[in-house]
Subunit: 289 residues, 2 copies
């Protein structure tokens, strides 16, 4: 992994966002991309990646390689990223692509794609179905559309910041659940200790009604589906954060980074119901209170 | 829930196991039940319950009722238990049935069925697919066959104590993974504090390579599939424990209760690879070392 990208918010990267980009260079009228265009494209990718996922999921012989940062990668991650990049290049020539496995491919257009071929590789490799492919579309560097799909679960979710649909039905976070009855999700129990105030995080877990590591992107799916109330990730990369933003906002979820700032400029994510978000931020950052 | 059943190991219940039962009373030649008979019956139930699960899964309108012990139950749990009981009565008249929702139905035969219609009701109700139906067959009170099925995941697992098959393929726990690299699973993070040595449990979590609450029966599925190494449940009922025993043993998993004793006589379960099981028991019970 390019650790520069991990540290630097991708939106600040001059490589991803050419400062000036004359309209004449646009090879595709990307400013007119609609949610229907995006949904159709994402759906075709979901169909094409399904056989790759089926072939490798829960295969005890699947080799898990470690990248430089010790995060896992499999042949399935690489095959899906390769496929999706080829499809983007063919359909949207000139647009930039940032993906987890192959890094940044600068484009000549002002819009770009962001991709995590398997968000939840550890889960995928273990035979747990809580993983998905993430695809985001950025207009002038701002998250505009996002998709999450997992053909093994028949899950297909898209959002545009105003509306979020799962399998075609409008999705909305539930409200009115107080913290002692809330379902709080997080990807990993111990990464907060390395990246944030770990003691405050652990104290919060003990206050919640139910805590589960139904994590990675799937945790956010449970939020927008109305099955959970809080999802926390103390450390994220651009490719597993930005595609979620239009989906979460479209379902009425309040989001910020761990300290309550703009998550699109950060490397963490606190997503919660409007009722709970302010409380969660206070609990996670007792020192700043 | 009948709290007597929770406290008393079901095998010790005289109601479930009529001490003397003349062969003439057997209405079905149940002693000759084969793994193929059992598999065929479980598979037909999986097909019949699939529409009920599909109808209610991830339905935000699904009402979650609380039982006397505060455990959740939904219309789907009740409908599946009712269906499975009717099928057992029709196919195996005279055999006893113990199920989570309707309790004990004594039989005149020495063999009996044990049933959890949805193990993982909290997960099911939240829209997380990590749940399954559990069905066990006891011969003279000993777990003989077990099945775990979740049609939404295309998961179908059966075991007879010697062999375990998932979707027809033989399943086996992996070995040779040391604790600092092991994947440790548990259903809930905080129930050990109420039922066992909570501090020892938490210290063990920090020693493992990866900890996840991919719990309920699904955690045991990951063990037999070779995707995880340890699964811990500090409190269980007969209906969510006994059906798993022939499945875990058939896949080479070592099992015991929390203290290392016979799990079929207890109310907890420690399931691990042969390499790790002794270490796990020592870690969970430091006071007895």
């Amino acid at each position: 992994m390019d650790t520069t990208l991990r540290k630097l918010p991708v939106l600040a990267s001059p490589r991803l966002l050419p400062a000036a980009c004359p309209p004449a260079l646009f090879l595709f009228p990307s400013l007119s991309m609609t949610i229907d265009d995006f949904t159709g494209f994402a759906r075709s990718l979901a169909e094409e990646t399904a056989p790759i996922l089926r072939q490798h999921f829960a295969d005890p012989g699947l080799r898990i390689d470690r990248k430089d940062d010790a995060s896992p990668v499999t042949a399935a991650d690489r095959a899906i990223e390769d496929l999706v990049r080829r499809r983007i290049r063919a359909a949207f020539p000139g647009e930039g692509i940032l993906g987890e496995e192959e890094g940044l491919e600068t484009g000549s257009a002002s819009n770009s794609w962001i991709l995590d071929p398997i968000d939840g590789t550890r889960s995928f490799a273990a035979g747990c179905p809580l993983f998905a492919t993430l695809l985001g579309y950025l207009e002038n560097g701002r998250p505009r559309f996002g998709a999450v799909f997992n053909p093994l679960l028949d899950l297909f979710c898209v959002g545009d910041g105003r509306t979020t649909r799962i399998d075609g039905r409008e999705a909305r976070i539930r409200t009115g659940v107080p913290l002692p009855e809330a379902t709080l999700l997080t990807t990993d129990l111990f990464s907060a200790q390395r990246h944030q105030d770990g003691a405050a995080f652990e104290a919060l877990l003990r206050e919640a009604g139910m805590v589960r590591t139904w994590g990675d992107c799937f945790g956010y799916m449970l939020l927008v589906r109305g099955g959970a109330d809080v999802m926390l990730d103390p450390i994220m990369n651009a490719w597993d954060l930005l595609p979620l933003v239009p989906i979460l906002e479209g379902a009425g979820v309040v989001l910020s980074d761990w300290q309550g700032g703009d998550c699109t400029q950060g490397t963490s994510l606190v997503a919660a119901s409007p009722d709970l978000h302010p409380t969660i931020i206070r609990r996670l950052n007792p020192a700043s209170g």
